[in-house]
Symmetry: C2
Subunit: 603 residues, 2 copies
């Protein structure tokens, strides 16, 4: 199979493109008789021929006969719509639990040919070298995968210890890498608003390099803090959830990225800015942010988002612009991709219907990559070093005793802080619950849905374990669930009703190099093996999705019937979102951004 998908730059190819368009040289491929979905003019132009050479469009017009020679491959399209390959303006590959190559394979049949990828998760595990691995594997894909350099590692400085840190010097260095499209989402908006010199230095690095600064202003406050964040320079934001969020951003030249992820539903509430208020749509971009492999396998990728936008009342051409040319323009790549036009990368999807968007054929760089959902190529993989595939370092085997929680001396019962899960929401509740003490240790309380929680340092092999309680999952019986996907520092989170099972689950992840495992009564019910940085698998998306489905079933078998329960589990350490979290440094009051004790003193 073809392994090299590189194409010459436009300027390198110009001589050939000119010769083909002029009719002096034959095209390599002609797509004959398409309906040209023109995102430049916002028109559908019937009876169009597209001639391709050197991986780029050479001629887009009514008759490519003069571009056809003996060796020209001709595809009769019989009036199918040809649209530019979809662009995802902001996304995390790790959310699919897939390596970049496997992620690319999963989305190509859905018509995605360009992704702007923020490897924030691996950066928390492996730092700059992890970002470089993602970058290098992204660079060799048959579709366009650009990397946004993570900006906020750790996410919550002083409240957590990630596996590595990203410094302004790292950002400065990464801006020189060929596949870096900009700075990844600037999540520390509080720091930006306060004028943090380090954060402003990262933004400045990206701006000086002529690249795009990703934003993340996750607050409903549109007062001075919002304006201060804008003044710092982030050029887009995908954290808006209300129409006014999108409107406020677009008006100020910060592009409103509207996301439909596996668990994000922010398009419908914001797209009314265009469909009802009639704002110029050029500053609106569709993205996924986070897609699980199950979504990719069963529902689609950017085609799903575009279809959803259309179902929300958006004109199909406008919706397609929001996932093609708008994105390309945003990243300064409008002359390289994002439209079917001369000189651009020949990335296109063929469909028979602009509402339902069935993706019939997918081309990238002039090569056919998928046909009616079937992938026709194998995405090249990088040889990942052992350091990236053996990243779970807990220092020693875990025993039940590692998870038990000693009570204050002499106490018969305690008032303990408990992280309270809220279904379908990222924030948690900071609960305080009375718990019994037995033999000097605090007991969880299955009857009230409260179980043990532990965060095991898996980066430093220190053997350090922080303990607490969690409520709301509904776990019953002797069970445990452990995961090395634990935003954002990605230590190991273990939750369970039973200390023995917790130790088994934790040890299992250490020996399988990471992932998610569910145990009951001393037996493993499900394992999602994620040996790449403890976050990703290099198996096909369908297999990973099947494993994830078994994990979900196992969680249900243990009594948890919450929607998206694993996401809740994986966010238990996310110290930037209220109200109570657990990190390797302790329990965090993530409303006040400070560490708090597990036990609340009686007053």
């Amino acid at each position: 199979m073809e392994k090299n998908f590189e194409i010459p730059s436009w300027q390198e190819a110009a001589g050939e493109l000119v010769a083909v368009a002029a009719g002096r040289k034959p095209a390599s491929l002609v797509l004959r008789n398409v309906r040209w979905v023109n995102v430049q003019s916002r028109e559908i132009i019937p009876a169009t021929d597209l001639a391709i050479a050197a991986g780029r469009f050479a001629y887009c017009g009514p008759d490519a006969s003069h571009c056809i020679g003996d060796d020209t491959d001709i595809v009769e399209c019989d009036g199918l719509y040809a649209l530019p390959g979809f662009c995802d303006g902001h996304m995390h590959v790790e959310s699919g639990m897939l390596t970049p190559a496997r992620f690319a394979e999963a989305v190509i049949p859905h018509g995605t040919t360009t992704m702007f990828v923020d490897p924030h998760e691996i950066a928390n595990v492996l730092g700059l070298s992890g970002v470089r691995l993602m970058h290098d594997e992204a660079m060799i894909q048959p579709v366009n995968m650009f990397v946004q350099m993570p900006s906020c590692v750790p996410s919550a400085p002083g409240l957590e210890t990630p596996g590595a840190r990203i410094t302004p010097a790292d950002v400065e260095e990464a801006m020189r890498w060929p596949g870096i499209a900009g700075l990844g989402e600037m999540m520390n908006f509080g720091g930006v608003v306060a004028g943090s010199p380090e954060l402003l230095a990262e933004i400045a690095s990206a701006q000086r390099a002529g690249k795009t600064v990703g934003g993340h202003y996750a607050s409903p406050d549109l007062g001075p803090a919002f304006h201060a964040y804008l003044a710092a320079g982030p050029a887009d934001d995908h954290e808006g959830t209300r129409e006014i969020d999108a409107v406020s951003r677009a008006r100020r030249g910060m592009r409103a990225m509207m996301r439909l992820g596996s668990a994000w539903y922010d398009v419908e509430s914001q797209i009314t800015a265009v469909t009802e208020r009639g704002l110029d749509s050029r500053n609106f971009i569709l993205c996924t942010d986070d897609c699980h492999s199950g979504t990719l396998v069963n529902e689609g990728h950017m085609n799903r988002v575009v279809k959803h936008a259309i179902s929300c009342g958006c004109d199909p051409l406008v919706a397609i612009q929001m996932a093609t040319i708008n994105t390309a323009t945003h990243f300064g790549m409008e002359r390289e991709l994002g439209s079917i036009a001369p000189g651009r990368r020949a990335d296109a999807a063929l469909t028979s219907d602009l509402g339902e968007l069935p993706v019939l054929q997918v081309y990238a760089r002039g090569r056919k990559l998928a046909d009616r959902g079937e992938l026709l190529v194998e995405a090249p993989r990088l040889a990942w070093p052992e350091s990236a595939r053996k990243s779970v370092k807990i220092g020693r085997p875990l025993g039940p005793e590692d998870f038990r929680i000693p009570a204050p001396a002499g106490a018969n019962s305690v008032s303990a802080r408990v992280i309270g899960i809220i279904e379908n929401q990222a924030p948690t509740k900071a609960l305080v619950e009375k718990l019994d003490v037995e033999d000097g240790y605090v007991r969880c309380d299955e009857s009230r849905g409260i179980c043990y929680l532990a965060l095991v340092d898996r980066h430093g092999a220190s053997g350090r374990i922080v303990k607490g309680f969690i409520g709301g999952f509904g776990y019953v019986g002797a069970m445990a669930i452990a995961s090395t996907v634990a935003h954002d520092s990605h230590h190991m989170i273990v939750a369970g009703t039973d200390l023995e099972n917790m130790a088994l689950a934790g040890n299992r992840l250490a020996e399988s190099d990471g992932g998610v495992t569910v145990w009951r009564d001393g037996e493993e019910l499900a394992l999602v093996g994620l040996p790449y940085a403890g976050l990703m698998s290099d198996r096909p998306a369908a297999e990973v999705a099947a494993d994830a489905e078994r994990m979900k079933e196992a969680m249900a078998a243990c009594g948890c019937s919450l929607n998206n329960a694993f996401m809740q589990h994986s966010l238990l350490a996310l110290a930037v979102i209220p109200e109570l979290r657990i990190t390797d440094l302790g329990l965090v009051d993530s409303t006040r951004f400070e560490l708090v004790d597990l036990f609340v003193e009686e007053k």
Copy 2:
């Protein structure tokens, strides 16, 4: 007066902008209560305050009270519309016969704050060093003047000898200068379509530098040649004249620049692509290309173009976008200028009416530059070297004998090629007329409007003079007109009915370092002194416009009542436009691109 108009980059200013927007530091200026003409969202937002610091917008929102301190300058705008300063997407400063500083002074009161300037004319006289002078003077202006590096000098290789040449190496060098926005109009479209390696190398230099390649496809042929030109990479084109020209370009991601110059009227015929066909307007840009000083003084600049577009039925907000954000985006500067939004250069015009567009106040980089048409600053001037101010080198004084045209030996009459002027059109007619011979010399024929024409080498001091005949101006009496503005090589063109007056006119320009002069009966009727490269004056636009008006009157006094007669005169050497021209190498059949003899042999 303030002489330094530099401002810090956004990244240098970010700390201050954030502090101002957050309310921790006072703004330098607040425009209070404007109607915000929002070109990002295409809305008018009433009751908006704009806070400015470090020459940039820091806060754009409903209430800037928190940005105001003791030293903040507050302008009460009482609901005036605030729109981004206008951008001219493509223009030649030399067409105004003004230096960059004087041009800037002329257009600032009209609300123009950004210009993309192609110094093609001076490049023909002084080469790269001339471009650098324009660049350096442009860089120090109080408004944004970016330079497009001229791409085609000479315009007609092999058919003319300019004062200097621009090579691909020159282009490569210029791409590193700070004020270069891209490559100037690629006029040699025939060469591009043929795949000229030198022209493709120039385009590649600009693309590699991440800059914008200007196009110029001056042909109605939209067949393969057009597509080949597109495939070479020019990103815009201002040569379209028909709706289909604009449509064909916009669809293919080549921005359609629609011009209204002093003598270009290409907006009305093309803007229907947006107003009637409903194409996405983002790829349409307004520009002037060429404005005479009289137009600048009496009619305006980009405000005139925008007003005209509105009068053609374009929505005012769309028309304003075409002269602000669309242009900025095209040049990759959308985060630097072209909108009123945080971080952007604080360039704005205040108006009371969006149809008539009276420009009441003009701000650039946060500084008030004009008030109700009155300029409040003096534009800094460069110290131009003598080589640029003494550029007219004819080698020796001219005498009447230099202009007489010897007949073939023994002839009593001749059939001579005559350049026939067509009123209001750039092309000429290639006429052949019978002319009498007297004392061995061919005589012009006032009765048929045919007079003498000469092109004097004014770059090489060679004393070389090419002679011919011109018809259609209607000159009578003993007169002559001479000009060192003579597109594109800018030698000296002398036309007249009388050899003595022709010599007087030519010598006058040599001694006054260039310009235009009109003589009758041995006396000078008018002189437009243009000592800067023989093309520009550093006097105020109003004075130059008054001189130009006197020149026009003088031409009329000599019998010429054609509209725009001087333009016709100055284009007599433009060998790229049909049908017959004169250059320093001879008469040019500019349909077949070859030199031809003055006399046609009888058959």
